[in-house]
């Protein structure tokens, strides 16, 4: 990221000089660039939205400390959409009509994102979503981009790992939220194409405190060879504990929703051996020094953990990528002209982010490759990079 910043500063300096030259004639030299955002800081997906908000706030501050973008300060206008699609839509109208932002980076959940697409498309507002589902960018929408790996990619990664270990019969277990059910849906769809058979399909409710009945059912399912849990937050740890309580031995997989040190802490030892797909960010210390993402990811980890005294999760990284994709596109466009910025986001070429390396095109508005996920396993209370 140091590189990244240096480049920022350089462009900022150039831009500042140009702006200075123009300022003699104009008065708008320091008009701020407005980045709008709406995130699920509270409500069901606060586990995702909270680190996203913290990340945006911290990095906008940093960008301003290093001279802003195009010599202009950056203002972040962010609202808490409280995991509610209705609120998200109202806030997006507010960002577009009232605050007149230049670009929107936000939308923690798929529901909140899908609810606003019609509006941003109609308004011609560049929008980088931080939500998981593939439907957001498939089919491609002119003004809509997204940073995180699709949920499908995560499930794909898990199934590949299972296949490599000769595990074919999977007990699927998922929570009730949007993230959980999207993962479940993808698992059910992908399984037949990858030679995997879903032999059990169980769900738990919101706020459940004990999942042993569902796990017992999976454990007693004829021929089950592996467990895949789709969910995030406290239930990830509860599932790991209940798995241990029941003395289950089949390989245990979870998703990137569990990719946070909190999962291991909460499981109190029961997370040992759990495998999951995660962004490289999670195991940044174990990446070789020539790994392209190492510098960016370790700088992010250091900054976030230093500032908030809280362990990083995959989700804050989505916000980092979204913000810098936007900032770099604005720099390349040389203005905040919406069409120009949109075109530049689409031309993003080998942008090194926390989630992976982005190369966008008119056909691909996410631009992440399959290799951006790594498989990790919990070992001795920490993450171990597999492969």
């Amino acid at each position: 990221m140091r590189n990244h910043f240096r480049r920022n500063i350089a462009t900022a300096a150039v831009a500042a000089l140009t702006a200075l030259g123009l300022a003699v004639g104009g008065t708008q030299a320091a008009e701020p660039i407005k980045i709008g955002s709406f995130l699920a800081v509270t409500g069901g997906a606060s586990f995702l939205g909270d680190p996203e908000m913290k990340t945006l706030e911290m990095y906008v501050e940093k960008i301003n400390e290093s001279g802003g973008v195009l010599g202009r300060p950056v203002t972040l206008i962010a609202y808490d959409s409280a995991t509610d699609a209705k609120k998200a839509l109202t806030f997006v109208k507010r960002l577009i009509e009232q605050d007149q932002v230049d670009i929107i980076v936000g939308g923690t959940t798929t529901g909140e994102t899908m609810a606003v697409i019609k509006e941003v498309e109609a308004a011609g507002m560049p929008f980088i979503s931080l939500a998981g589902a593939g439907v957001i960018i498939d089919p491609v929408k002119k003004w809509v981009f997204k940073t995180p790996h699709t949920d499908r990619l995560a499930v794909d990664k898990v199934f590949r790992d299972m296949t490599a270990r000769n595990l074919a019969k999977v007990g699927l277990f998922s929570g009730a939220g949007g993230f959980d059910q999207s993962c479940r849906k993808n698992a059910l769809e992908l399984a037949p194409t990858m030679g995997i058979e879903i032999v059990a399909d169980e769900t738990h409710g919101k706020g459940d405190t004990d999942m042993t009945p569902q796990l017992t059912k999976i454990k007693n399912t004829e021929g089950v060879e592996a467990l895949l849990y789709c969910g995030f937050g406290a239930p990830t740890s509860i599932v790991a504990k209940n798995y241990k309580q029941l003395g289950m031995t089949i390989p245990h997989y979870q998703t990137h929703g569990s990719a946070s040190a909190k999962f291991i802490e909460g499981a109190e030892g029961a997370a040992e051996g759990v495998r999951l797909p995660a962004a490289a960010l999670l195991v940044v210390d174990q990446l070789s020094d020539d790994h392209p993402q190492k510098a960016v990811a370790s700088a992010y980890k250091e900054a976030y953990e230093g500032r908030f005294k809280d362990s990083i999760s995959t989700f804050g990284g989505h916000a980092y990528d979204g913000l810098y994709l936007a900032v770099e596109a604005i720099e390349r466009a040389g203005s905040t002209d919406k069409e120009a910025v949109r075109a530049e986001i689409e031309k993003t070429d080998k942008f090194i982010g926390v989630d992976g390396i982005f190369t966008m095109s008119p056909e691909d508005h996410m631009g992440l490759d399959h290799d951006s996920f790594v498989m990790v396993e919990v070992e001795n209370g920490t993450w171990k990079l597999l492969e």
Partner: protein, 316 residues
């Protein structure tokens, strides 16, 4: 002419005037959006107030009817390819029928047991909407087609403003008439004392069922319109949190006051937009405002303010 200047009629005229003039003061689509949402919530609350305020029957599950109406419109237009207006009407009739079927056993319950019964009903609806992924798209929600009548497509906020405003005005007018009719008097007697009402020959159950169905149909209509207006819905619309929000609107504005329900809907819909300035203190402030208002204005905003005005006048 004297009847014309009854406070109720005056109130209706005031409401019509506000709806007619308000657009002049709304600078952009965001303000229109907030006002449209107020109108939708107000329509539900006017019906719910009939149930809570006049018949004295609490419902903690009304968002279920709202959600069902929204999904009826979404699914029928999307999967079955029906025209929006037909879907909306079929949805409203079906939900009215559902409300009719469940009303009798549920309304036998009293007080908090009724609250529990309606709460359970709402939660069952919400769980079904969440779980039937193939029909509803699950927790991630589903898109809804643009509303159109005879080829006229309605997508801009201004047109929606007039539709929602019109619906609110009509529902308010119907509600006020219902309250002033013999049905309304029967209802109030039910609220006062069910036993006394029954003894004097009022068919208590029939009136309670009637009001329950009317309020469910209004919630369903609002849900359908909301679905088409926003173009996207999630099962959260049918959730427990939304049900509580609706009851809170009615009580905050003032029970047994139709205009109170509208004021309550307006305040609680607009408040989150005003509280964004508090950032992390948003929830804290919202909770505190809710408690403060109810402690100091126990009867709700509108009745308390009317009382205040009367007292000031009397002192003069």
């Amino acid at each position: 002419m004297t009847g014309f200047w009854q406070p109720r009629v005056g109130g209706l005229l005031t409401l019509a005037l506000i709806i007619a003039v308000l657009p002049v003061f709304l600078p952009n689509a965001f303000y229109f959006d907030v006002v449209i949402l107020i109108g939708i919530n107000a329509t539900i609350c006017v019906g719910l107030n009939l149930l809570i305020g006049y018949a004295g029957q609490i419902s903690l599950g009304h968002a279920g009817f709202f959600g069902l109406g929204a999904y009826a419109s979404a699914v029928l237009t999307d999967s079955a390819g029906w025209p929006p207006l037909l879907s909306l009407l079929v949805g409203a009739i079906a939900i009215g029928a559902l409300a009719f079927i469940v009303a009798e056993p549920i309304l036998k319950l009293k007080g908090h047991y009724l609250a529990m019964g309606t709460l359970g009903l709402g939660i069952i609806i919400s769980i079904a909407l969440n779980q039937e992924v193939t029909i509803t798209g699950g927790p991630d929600g589903m898109p809804v087609a643009t509303f159109s009548v005879l080829g006229w497509r309605i997508s801009d906020e201004r047109t929606w403003y007039w539709i929602v405003g019109g619906l609110l005005l009509v529902s308010t007018w119907l509600t006020l008439n219902l309250i002033d009719s013999p049905v309304g008097r029967a209802l109030r007697s039910v609220h006062g004392s069910e036993v006394a009402a029954a003894v004097t020959g009022v068919d208590v159950t029939r009136y309670k069922v009637l009001v329950f169905v009317v309020s469910a149909v209004l919630a369903s209509l609002s849900g359908s319109l909301f679905a088409h207006y926003s173009g996207f819905i999630t099962p959260a619309e049918a959730g427990f949190g939304h049900s509580i929000e609706l009851v809170t609107m009615v009580v905050l504005g003032g029970m047994a006051s139709t205009f109170g329900a509208i004021v309550g809907a307006a305040i609680l819909t607009a408040l989150p937009q005003l509280l964004t300035a508090f950032h992390d203190f948003e929830m804290l402030a919202f909770g505190a405002i809710l408690m403060g208002t109810m402690i100091f204005m126990r009867k709700g905003l509108v009745p308390s303010l009317i009382e205040l005005v009367k007292r000031v006048r009397a002192e003069r």
